[in-house]
Amino acid sequence: MTRGMRLPQAKAHVADKLGVSPPDLSDPVIMNEVREKLGFGRITTFEISHPTQPVAIEAKFNIADVLGVPVNSVRRFAARTAKGGSST
C-alpha cells in the first residue's frame, strides 16, 4: 500500500520472501504455519492462545524485516524506545 505495487507483483514479492507460492498466501492452513514460523502474529482467542509468540507491534517488526519493507509504525517505535538509541 505504500509502494503502489499492483497485486500480482505484490503477491509475487511477498511469496518469494516467505518461500511460498502466491496462491499459498490466501491459504489459512499454510499461512498459519508460516506466520508461526516467522513470528508474524496469528489470530488469538480464548481457546487458541500462544502467549510466548509475537503479537501486534512485535509481529510488525518481524514482517518489516522479512519482507524488506519499511513500516512507519515500526520505525517510529524503534525511534521512541531504547532501540532508537535514546536509552542505553
Partner: protein, 346 residues
Amino acid sequence: MDRENRIPTRMGDGEMVHMTRSEIRADLEAGTAAAARRAKVPPLTEEELEHLLDIYGSPARFTGVDIGTEVVLSYDGSGMKTIASRRQDLQIYEQWFGADTIELHHVDYSFKPVKAIVPFEAQEMHEVLLRVVAPVQYGAQPNLGLYSRPDGPVPNWAELLPLGRIAEARAAQEEAIPMAVKDMVYVCESMYEAGADGVDFDTSAAAGDADFLATLQAVEEVRRRCPEMGIEVGMSGEFVLGMHGEVEHDGVRLAGLWPREQMKLVARAGATIFGPVVNVNAGKSCAWNIARACTIVKPCAEEATIPIHMNVGMGVGAVCMTKYPPVDAVSRASRACVDILKVDGL
C-alpha cells in the same frame, strides 16, 4: 408461454425479484450498452457477458472468486465504536473479520472537523498501531462544501449557481480550495508522525471538480512531506461533477472526467491506491448495474499503474442501495469485479 425457470436475483434497491436467464442476459446487454454510450468506452465482450451471466444466473446465496485469485480487502469506516471502543473495533476487524487493512476515523468523517481534534485522533492512531498487525489508515472526506456558508467562511456556491451568479460561485470555490488543502495536509502529516501506514481520501470530488482539485493538491503535498505513506483516493461518483467547470490539474480539465482519467491524475499526484466508483441505478437489476459498472471501470483497471480498489458497497459497484446489503448481491458484485476487471482490491 414462458418455459424458462425463474432465478431469484436483486434489484438495485435491494428488492428480491425472479427473472429468467434470458431476462438477466438482456439486462447485462442493456447495462453495458448504456455505459458504453454514456462513458464513451467499449462495451463488454461476449465472453465477459457470458461470465457475468454465469455469476448472476445462479440461484446460490453466495459466490466467490477462484482459489488463489483472492484480492486485498481494504475497509473504510472500520473503527467507529460500533461494538466497543474504536481500537477494539479495529482489533475485531483484524482478528475476527480478517480485514487486510483497517481504518481509524472520526464519526464526523471529514478533514475539516478532524483538524480541531488532531492531537486526540493522532494519539488514538498511535495506540491502535501498538495493538494490531494489519496496516492502519486514517480516513476522512475532503468535503469542500464544509468551507461554504453556513458551515464555513466562503459564500455558498450551491446557492449562487441557481441564481446565475456563476463568477461568484467559481470564486467561492477557488477561495475554499487552499483552506481544504491546508487542513488535509495538516491531518495527514499528523497521522504520519503518529505512525499511520496510510491515509484514505474517501468520497473525493463529492462537491465537484474543485473538491477533486483540492484532493489532488493535498495528495501532492502529502506525498512530498510523507514519502513512505500509503495514500488511497476513493471517489464519490463515476464522473467528476462540474460545479466549477473550469478548474484544471496538470493541464487537465477536471469536470466530466471518468475513472480512467481520474486514475491517471491520482497516480501522477502520488497516490498509491485508487478507488473508482460507479453509482447504482436503484430501478434497474443488479445484473444491469454490474454490466454498467464493469464497462465504465474496465479501461481504468486495464491502464492502471497503481492498485485499483473498486468501491463495492451500499449504492455503488452494483451493490444494492440499502442499509443492509444482501450477501448474494455483495458477493456477486465482488466476484464480478475481480474476474472481469482484475482489480487489486475491493
